[in-house]
């Protein structure tokens, strides 16, 4: 089929895929209004693009690649990216997460999504995606991204009585672990028992974690206060022991968290030697999942500590639970890929739920063979998957 990215001065108005520049801010704002924010304007979108370029880890001021499928002046499809660097077997590679893949409803199941992605891939090197829905997964796979599988979801109940009252066990697809857990929850939901059982569960969780490393040495601060030198030194120490991960250095912290206002609270674990680890807690929101009926969920969006020092991970988890509780969360969600994290989560009483976010990747000029999901250090914030709960 003929057609490719149109040059900026293309005179015809045929259907085409464009990489967004200044002249496409109006159609970009239009599709953002349709898909996400009815108040979006070309000026506002332009400012947001400048702000993203200013903290682009690929180079300050470098525009973040965004693509539109245009039919005449009308936008039919959108895809933007999040620039990052990957560390794979000790080598550093530039990469882009796909983000905001959206096609207007009347053109779904047509060529728009495929052509948009195909054209985006022609301009990008290594591409990564955290994706939930099967149709885009099929598209990504057909265009060369490998599916590494689902990030597991672990949930720590912080207010047991409130969660017990609200869980909808009859909902389709709600998996809350073994059958005995489901039966136990069903009994606990009987009238009058929720508060009693909630208190019992709370006491049980407290007992479970009583002898574990506490949140001492961990401070809750605004991400803006993180010291760049300490953050880079921590990443240098930790990354030496990781097979594959998106960089979690200060450039990542700045682009991903500091630029997001007060959405995140940083949890810093320190010792005399400096920064030993950090976690990023996303403020609690009401879950969009109808099965959870208004449970306020916080997300442990990021977590970094040396995998061979689990006591630091446990301290950060304890601090995250306490801070999330103080912020009004009913539960805390953590979605780690690395095989060393789930044992710590179980020790702190997290329950594994069915996963939904798939990690997909297409390397450019190197191989990811031999790596499975448990080798990657990924968390909920990667690809901004913590936007959706």
């Amino acid at each position: 089929m003929s057609g490719s990215t149109a040059p900026a001065n293309a005179p015809h108005q045929a259907s085409r895929v464009v990489q967004v520049s200044e002249e496409h801010l109006e159609p970009l704002a239009e599709i953002i209004r349709l898909a996400w924010d009815p108040r979006a304007t070309a000026e506002g979108v332009g400012r947001a693009r400048q702000a993203a370029a200013a903290v682009n880890p690929h180079g300050e001021g470098v525009e973040v690649p965004t693509f539109l499928f245009l039919s005449g002046d009308r936008p039919l499809g959108h895809m933007t990216t999040i620039p990052v660097h990957l560390s794979v077997r000790g080598q550093r590679h530039p990469a882009h997460w796909f983000k905001g893949f959206w096609v207007v409803p009347e053109h779904r199941n047509g060529p728009v999504g495929f052509l948009l992605l195909k054209e985006a891939l022609r301009h990008l090197g290594t591409t990564l995606s955290t994706v939930v829905q099967p149709p885009p997964r099929r598209l990504f796979k057909s265009l060369g991204l490998s599916d590494f599988g689902q990030l597991p979801n672990f949930v720590r109940i912080l207010r047991p009585a409130r969660v017990l009252q609200r869980l909808d066990l009859g909902a389709n697809g709600l998996s809350i672990g073994p059958e005995w857990v489901r039966k136990g929850v069903a009994v606990a939901q009987l009238p009058g028992l929720a508060h009693l059982c909630g208190a019992a569960v709370g006491a049980g969780l407290k007992g479970l974690t009583l002898l574990q490393p506490s949140a001492r040495q961990v401070s809750a601060v605004a991400p803006q206060t993180i010291d760049p030198v300490e953050a880079d030194a921590l990443w240098a120490r930790v990354s030496a022991g990781l097979a594959a991960a998106p960089l979690r250095d200060f450039a990542h912290i700045r682009a991903r968290y500091i630029s997001k206002g007060d959405t995140y609270t940083a949890l810093l674990c320190r010792s005399g030697e400096g920064l030993d680890g950090f976690a990023m807690l996303r403020r609690p929101r009401e879950s969009g999942d109808g099965r959870l009926r208004g449970i306020r969920m916080a997300a442990l969006s990021d977590l970094l500590y040396p995998p061979d020092r689990p006591e630091i991970g446990l301290r950060l988890l304890a601090a995250a639970e306490r801070t999330a509780h103080d912020l009004g969360a009913d539960a805390l969600l953590c979605s780690p890929s690395h095989g060393s994290v789930p044992p710590l989560l179980r020790r702190r009483g997290y329950v594994r739920l069915g996963g939904n976010v798939h990690f997909m990747a297409r390397p450019d000029g190197y191989s990811l063979d031999g790596l499975d999901l448990a080798h990657w250090w990924l968390m909920r914030a990667d690809g901004e998957a913590d936007d959706a709960l």
């Binding site: 089929m1 199941n109 047509g110 052509l115 598209l139």
Partner: protein, 75 residues
Amino acid sequence: MKPEMLVAQVFGVDEDEVGDDTSNKNLPAWDSMGHMTLIMEIESSFGVNLSMDEALTMTNVSMIKEVLEQRGVRW
């Protein structure tokens, strides 16, 4: 080959089930990937190079026939 037969082959359904009104709205297998497979099959079977605009409109059998007729294709 008739367009109906091509659509049936691409989406793995009986040719009897495919008519002019068969579209990406009523054939579950006809998703974005399936659509691109269909476009590529049409191009190779009928020896045409379709534009993005044509691919955009060919979302039902009737429109596939109309575009092919405009291209002077007989089946």
